[in-house]
C-alpha cells in the first residue's frame, strides 16, 4: 500500500472533524457553564468548515480512483451523500441542543465533543469499503452514542437508556462480528470488492449464508427493525430529547449506509438468501412499528415506534436495489426522513422548555393558540411523516413503493400502503391536540438556535416535496457504484 499526498486531502473532512472534537473538548477548560452556548456556536462553525471541506473533496478528480489506503476508504458519491446527511443531522442536533443542554446541570463541552466524535464514526462508516474499517467506525459511533444516551446521569431514565443501549448494542455488535469472522474465515477476504469477486454466485455454501445471516441480524439491530427493535422505545424515551432526535436520524442513517453498501457491493449474488428474510422483516417492521405507535401516550415513545416503522419503509428500497428506484429511493427517503423526523423532534424540544415537559400527547393541547407558526410547522412534519403530498415524505415513499413493485414485492408494497394509512391515526392525534383542544396558555420561550433548526427542516421538507426534480437528479448520481 502506498499513501499518496491526495489521500490525505480525501481524508480531510474526517481529519478536521476529529480535530474539531478535540478542540471542543479542550475549550471546555476555558468556557464556564454560564457561557455554554459558545460551544454550540463553535460546533456549528466547525461543522460548517467540515461542510466546506466535503464540497472541496467532492470536486477532487482523485475520487474516481477507487478505494484508498489499502482498500479501506472510498470517497464515492454514495459516501459523500451520507456524509452530507450526517453533517446535516449533526448541525441540527447542535442547534437543538443549545438551550436544552444549557439549562441542564451538566457540562456542555463534552456533550458537543461526543456528538462530533459520533459523527466521525459515521463519516468513516459512510466511506468504509472493508469489513474491518466499517466495523471499527461503527463501534466508534456506537460508543459515543452510549455515553450521550446517559449524559443526563442525574436522571434515572437516562442512565437506564444508556445501560440498555450499551448492553443490546454490544450484543448486536458481537452477532455482527461473528458473522464477519465467518465470512472472513471462509474466504480470507475483508474488502467489499474482493468479496464480490470471490462470491460470484457459484460458491454458495451454507456456512457463507450463515455468516451473511448473522451480519444481517447485527445490522437490523442497528437500524432497529422488528424483531430487533426492543431497545428503541426505552432508549428514545430515556435519552435527553436532542440526543433522541440525533439517534433517530444520525446512527440510523449511517447504519443504512453500511447496510446498503455491504449488501449492494459485497453480497448482491446472495439476494435469493437474504431477500425473503429482509422482506419479512420489512413487513413485520412496518406493521408492528405503526400498530405499537397507535397505543403510545408518551410522545417520545410514539416517535420511537414511528421511526421503527420508517426503517421498515426504507428496507423496501434495499430489497429493490437492482431496480431503478431501489437505492435511489433509499437515498431520497433517508434525506426526507432526516428532515421531517428531526423537525418533529425539534418541536418536542421546543415545548420542553424549563419547567414544562412534552411527555404526553396532551402536552400538545392548544399549541395553535399559544404559538401558531409552531403548530403549522409541526403539522407540516406530521403530514410529511404520514407521506401526504406535497411533502418530502410523499416523494420518498413513492420511490420506495415503486421500487418494491418493480422488484416483484407487490404484497410488500400493499402492506406498506396500509401501514402508512394506520400511521395517519397517531400522527393526527397530535395534530388534533394542537388545533382542536384547549391547553394551558403559558408562553413558550423561543430559542433562536432551535428556531433555525426547525426552519432548516421545514424548508427542506417543503422544497423536496414541491420541487423535487433538482434534488432527485443530484441523488441519482449518488447511487453506489460497484467499484
Amino acid at each position: 500500500m502506498k499513501v499518496q499526498a491526495t489521500d490525505w486531502l480525501l481524508l480531510s473532512p474526517e481529519l478536521f472533524l476529529t480535530a474539531a472534537g478535540m478542540i471542543l473538548l479542550a475549550s471546555s477548560v476555558f468556557v464556564g457553564k454560564a457561557k455554554e452556548e459558545l460551544f454550540g456556536f463553535l460546533s456549528v462553525l466547525m461543522l460548517g468548515i467540515t461542510g466546506v471541506l466535503l464540497v472541496f473533496v467532492s470536486t477532487m478528480p482523485e475520487r474516481a480512483h477507487g478505494p484508498i489506503l489499502g482498500g479501506m476508504f472510498v470517497v464515492d458519491n454514495f459516501a459523500l451523500f451520507f456524509k452530507f446527511l450526517v453533517l446535516l443531522a449533526m448541525v441540527l442536533t447542535v442547534l437543538a441542543s443549545v438551550r436544552f443542554v444549557g439549562e441542564a446541570p451538566y457540562p456542555g463541552g463534552e456533550y458537543y465533543a461526543l456528538v462530533v466524535f459520533s459523527g466521525v464514526g459515521m463519516f468513516f462508516m459512510a466511506s468504509g469499503s472493508n469489513l474491518i474499517s466499517i466495523y471499527v467506525a461503527l463501534e466508534l459511533m456506537a460508543l459515543a452514542s452510549y455515553v450521550l444516551a446517559g449524559y443526563f446521569k442525574g436522571e434515572i431514565k437516562s442512565t437506564e437508556a444508556a445501560l440498555k443501549y450499551f448492553i443490546l448494542g454490544a450484543f448486536s455488535s458481537a452477532v455482527l462480528l461473528y458473522g464477519l469472522s465467518l465470512v472472513y474465515g471462509l474466504g480470507g477476504k475483508m474488502g467489499l470488492a474482493d468479496l464480490a469477486r470471490l462470491y460470484t454466485g457459484t460458491q454458495r455454501t451454507n456456512a457463507i449464508a450463515l455468516g451473511i445471516l448473522m451480519i444481517l441480524a447485527g445490522l437490523l439491530f442497528k437500524i432497529a427493525a422488528v424483531p430487533f427493535h426492543l431497545w428503541t422505545p426505552d432508549v428514545y424515551e430515556g435519552s435527553p430529547t436532542p440526543v433522541t432526535a440525533f439517534f433517530s436520524v444520525g446512527p440510523k442513517v449511517a447504519a443504512y449506509a453500511i447496510f446498503a453498501r455491504i449488501f449492494y457491493v459485497a453480497f448482491p449474488k446472495f439476494q435469493a438468501d437474504w431477500g425473503l428474510i429482509v422482506a419479512l422483516v420489512a413487513a413485520a417492521t412496518m406493521i408492528w412499528g405503526n400498530l405499537a405507535a397507535l397505543l403510545q401516550t408518551n410522545v417520545k415513545r410514539m416517535f420511537a415506534y414511528s421511526s421503527i416503522a420508517h426503517a421498515g419503509y426504507a428496507l423496501l428500497g434495499v430489497l429493490g436495489f437492482q431496480t431503478k428506484f431501489g437505492m435511489w429511493g433509499v437515498l431520497v427517503y433517508l434525506l426526507a426522513y432526516t428532515l421531517m423526523n428531526f423537525g418533529a423532534f425539534a418541536l418536542i424540544i421546543f415545548l420542553e422548555a424549563k419547567g414544562y415537559a412534552a411527555e404526553s400527547v396532551s402536552d400538545f393541547d392548544g399549541l395553535a393558540k399559544r404559538n401558531m407558526p409552531a403548530a403549522v410547522v409541526m403539522l407540516l412534519f406530521l403530514l410529511s411523516l404520514a407521506g401526504i403530498p406535497p411533502t418530502a415524505g410523499f416523494i420518498g415513499k413513492y420511490y420506495l413503493f415503486t421500487a418494491a413493485m418493480d422488484a416483484g414485492y407487490a404484497w410488500l408494497a400493499i402492506i406498506a400502503v396500509l401501514a402508512s394509512a394506520v400511521s395517519l391515526f397517531y400522527y393526527f392525534r397530535i395534530a388534533a391536540a394542537m388545533f382542536f383542544t384547549d391547553g394551558v396558555s403559558a408562553k413558550i420561550p423561543v430559542s433562536y438556535a432551535l428556531t433555525a433548526a426547525v426552519i432548516i427542516c421545514a424548508v427542506g421538507t417543503l422544497v423536496i416535496g414541491v420541487a423535487p426534480e433538482s434534488v432527485l437528479d443530484v441523488l441519482h448520481r449518488c447511487v453506489p457504484s460497484k467499484y
Binding site: G70, M72, G121, F124, L140, A144, L210
Partner: protein, 189 residues
Amino acid sequence: MGAAEAAGSALLTGVAGWLFVGFALLILGTAIAVVWSKNPVHSALFLLASFLLVACVFILEEAEFVGAVQILVYAGGIMVLFLFVIMLVHQRTAAGTPAFQHQWDIALLLLPVFLIPFLYILGTEKFTDIARNPDAFRAVAGRVIGNTEAVSWLMFRDYLLPFEVASVFLLVAMIGAVVLGKRSFEKVD
C-alpha cells in the same frame, strides 16, 4: 463445538489438533463458569483462566505476538481493573441474587434451535484446503522476518486507517468514562 473441531481438523493435525480441541473445550468451560459462579471474585478468576487459555490457542497457532498481547493486556491490565471494581463495589451485593434471570427457561428452549443448525452447518461445511504455509504469520512481501514484525507491518501499513480510528475510539471511551464516572456536575464553575 463443531466450528472449533472443523477448524482444528483443517488446520492442525496430530498432537496440536488434540491440544486445540482441549483448549477450546476448556475455554468454553471457563467461560460458562464466569456466568455461572455467584461470587464475583470466582467469576473474575475464571475469566482470567479463559483469557490465558485463549492466549494458549494463539501461541499454538504460531501467532506469538497476539498471544503475548492477550496475556499482557487482557490477563494483565483488564483483569486488574476488574479486580479493582470488585473491591470497590461491595462484593456481597451480587451473592444473594440468582445467577439467571427468569427468562432462563425460554433461553434453554431456544438454545438447541440455534445451536443445532450452527453445529450442522459448520460441521458439514467443506472448508477449502488451504496449503499449509508455516511462514504465513511471519512473512512480509515474501521475506520471512518474525511474527511481531509481520503484525506491525500489517497494522501500520495495510490496516493503518482502522488502527487510527481505533485510537479515536479509545479517546472517546476515556471521555465517556470520565463524563459518566465523575461524581457531581453541580460543582462545575
